[in-house]
């Protein structure tokens, strides 16, 4: 059994290249579709709990159902999580968001921050 048979390796490269090109294309498309947002929307466990305007600086402590917390800072029109009770701190590592469709996710606390546009452009996600 030869692990690196040429034909298979060629298929590997085609697979990887196709996936990367497709992903990069979608990424580019979504980046271009983004526009400046107006609100930071807090969703805990699938339920929208709060909405803060991005043009007003604020520091909010978000309590989650499991007793944990995330500190949401709104500054210079951007929303960012700067502190959290979760062990992995993936949400803290995520960059500040300000464009529509961007999100900061904290899986352990089931908390998601998303950016919304102006009121009239709102979609109503009924779940």
């Amino acid at each position: 059994m030869d692990m690196f048979k040429d034909k298979k390796l060629r298929n590997d490269i085609i697979l990887a290249a196709a996936v990367i090109i497709a992903a990069a294309g979608i990424w580019l498309f979504t980046e271009l579709m983004k526009s400046d947002g107006a609100f930071a929307v807090v969703t805990v466990n699938g339920v929208e709990t709060a909405k803060y305007p991005l043009d007003t600086d604020a520091e909010i402590r978000l309590e989650s159902e499991n007793g944990g917390y995330n500190i949401l800072i709104i500054k210079d029109g951007k929303a960012d999580i700067t502190e959290a009770s979760c062990p992995d701190h993936v949400c803290v590592d995520q960059r500040a968001i300000s464009k529509t469709g961007e999100a900061i996710t904290c899986l352990p606390n089931k908390t998601v921050i998303t950016i919304d546009g102006e009121e009239e452009a709102d979609f109503d996600f009924v779940s």
């Binding site: 059994m1 692990m3 690196f4 990887a16 996936v19 466990n45 999100a103």
Partner: protein, 164 residues
């Protein structure tokens, strides 16, 4: 199941758990939030190639359950499970076609692990925007998949003439 096989699979499960533990100790999420190397996949791929599909499913399932109970929580188990199920299913299919080397199989596994976790996150958190992060995770998943695939290929080659 023969005693020797029980011992061998126990050994690989232990190894997969150690890989998961090392990964938890060295987080990469400061670079790209949410990414992982997927070290445990080296063990899963090894079992897939040196033992059988059934054994790989067994080792993967036991690893996910034990690691979640030991190092994280039940919530995390759902994400791991979604990633593991999708990843292993696609790896099994690709291996069966015999058109890809270990690297291709590993790349598909790495990508599908991310896809599974994002699907689970969208279901559990009810926020569709999370899916927009998928392209980033697919690209990083491909890169880590190539690395894991090369390492797995080297390990499998070393065991070429050893019967387990």
């Amino acid at each position: 199941m023969k005693t020797k096989k029980v011992a061998m699979l126990g050994l690989t499960i232990a190894l997969a758990m150690i890989m998961s533990y090392i990964e938890a100790l060295v987080p990469l999420s400061f670079a790209v939030p949410g990414i992982k190397m997927g070290l445990a996949n080296i063990v899963i791929i090894f079992v897939l190639y040196k033992f059988s599909m059934k054994d790989a499913v067994l080792v993967s399932a036991i690893r996910v359950i034990l690691v979640s109970l030991l190092f994280s929580n039940v919530m995390a188990m759902w994400y791991s499970l979604a990633g593991a199920v999708l990843s292993l299913s696609v790896m099994c299919i690709l291996k069966k076609t015999d058109k890809f080397s270990v690297i291709g199989v590993s790349v598909a596994g790495g990508i599908m692990h991310n896809v599974g976790q994002i699907i689970m996150a969208v279901i559990l958190l009810g926020t569709e925007q999370i899916a927009l992060y998928l392209p980033v995770l697919i690209i990083t998943g491909t890169v880590t998949g190539v690395i894991i695939g090369i390492v797995s290929g080297l390990v499998i080659n070393r065991f070429k003439n050893i019967r387990l």
